[in-house]
Amino acid sequence: MLSALGASLRFPHFDEWLQACNKAADSTFIPSWFEVMVEDFLEEGPHHQKLEQLCEVHNKSIVFHSTGLNVGGTGHFDPEYISSLNELFQKYHPVVVSDHLCWSASSDRYHHDLLPIPPTYEALRHTVSRVMELQDYFQRELCLENITTYIDYTKRDMTDLTFLCELVKQTGCSLLLDISNASINHKNRRKDSRSFFAAFPMNHVRYMHLSGGDWDAHLNTMIDSHSSSPNQHDLKVLEDIYHKRPNSPPVVLEWDSELPSFCQMQKEHERISRCLKS
């Protein structure tokens, strides 16, 4: 069982996390688990020894998060990529393995981006079959994250939420609720997100994400950039989720670009922690 607040492990802060674990006495926030980007560990290198140290010496649990499984894509899975992931799963025994409910490659090429799946019956059948294939291959449950969507498809057979619930029902996969992604989607469509969060199948959520976005004034659009603090709205959503269900799934702050100092990240974690306690 993961404790309420984890941390996202990013290379620039790796040594500081290890130092904090070694001291373990001052007031530094040290989580019991880390979310680790799988793509950072596809190549050999000294960072593997550090991760081993975190897991074995400091007894931290890890959650593996990837971006390239391409669950909704067309064409074959990249055999080299999924085989590398499987090796990492065998080596580090992550508590959860997560990726995104999206497509990132056509049969023609990879985009290294998270592209939305149209909520249609055809897409659902297709995605169900691929998620099952991956779960069979990895011999474990996949946890899939709701993504930010900037475009709306003309053909829709159901809501995004129904699509997601059906996928869970038919594959047995679990969910990673990204509060900020859902908020951005609603904000960009000038819609209220409350009904979405109220109906979200929390029983199937393994953990949650929070992050900060950027406003693109030219496009009049909020961009999911992971480059700032989570906003008050998203913290309030988190607070409400915990208020309604005190044993809600744990949360982790995602911050990928314009990464602040370790000290600033500590303050951000304190802010979220206060929110969980309140």
Binding site: G45, N70, T74, D108, Y110, I151
Partner: protein, 219 residues
């Protein structure tokens, strides 16, 4: 027993009387439109994406170039310093136009950039660029199985000088090129080094990894 949605009656026509676009075709069209970088592929999407959200499609096109550019900039700091950001961006666009990315691992994609530089005709000094790129890749991926490469004689000295000027950090590169940094004297020195490159002879360089430290060594 939960009710499972499996399929609906097949829809042969949509409300406009036209045959609906299949899922595979939808993905193929979007993929193509993203890879065009400019907006020329977006006309294919009119039946797929709502008009009001089509203006946001640029975000995906921008991401496609931006993600690759970021990785290539990190992996090839000396090439970037040598040709400047404008040319580097142009080469990245050219790379995207001529190469379909076939790997889920973006770092695998990066190594194909060397081959592209070798065959590119748009950059005047493409011969030394692929040599510089090979050393950059060796440096950026010290744990890659290849730890030893051969380059044309003179490339290593050129690499050392550019890396020294650039301090080997992509962040230090100005938006244009080394000339804009007021380093004309250095450029003159580099130009004389370029003239000394002997493409009929080769020299070797290896990357040494000791714990967290790495360095390049002529061998």
């Amino acid at each position: 027993m939960p009710q499972i949605i499996t399929s609906q009656q097949p829809q042969n026509k949509d409300s406009h009387g036209t045959k609906p676009v299949s899922y595979e075709d939808t993905i193929a069209k979007i993929s193509y439109a993203i890879s065009r970088i400019d907006a020329s592929g977006e006309k294919l999407l009119q039946r797929i994406i709502n008009e009001h959200s089509l203006k946001r499609f640029v975000i995906y096109r921008r991401n496609y170039l931006g993600t690759l550019l970021k990785v290539l900039q990190e992996d090839y700091p000396t090439v970037l310093a040598y040709i400047g950001f404008t040319n580097f961006r142009y080469l990245t666009k050219e790379f995207i136009a001529n190469n379909k990315v076939k790997s889920a691992n973006i770092f695998t994609v990066s190594k194909h950039f060397i081959t592209h530089l070798h065959s590119s005709y748009t950059i005047h000094h493409s011969a030394e660029l692929s040599g510089l790129a090979s050393i950059d890749y060796l440096w950026s991926h010290p744990c890659h199985p290849v730890k030893f490469i051969k380059v044309s004689h003179g490339i290593i000295s050129l690499y050392e000088n550019i890396a020294f000027l650039n301090n080997n950090k992509p962040d230090n590169v100005s938006p244009d090129d080394l000339k804009n940094k007021g380093l004309r004297a250095c450029m003159t020195s580099l130009e004389s080094q370029i003239k000394k490159i002997d493409y009929s002879r080769f020299e070797s360089i290896e990357v040494i990894l000791e714990g967290e430290n790495k360095y390049l060594r002529r061998c």
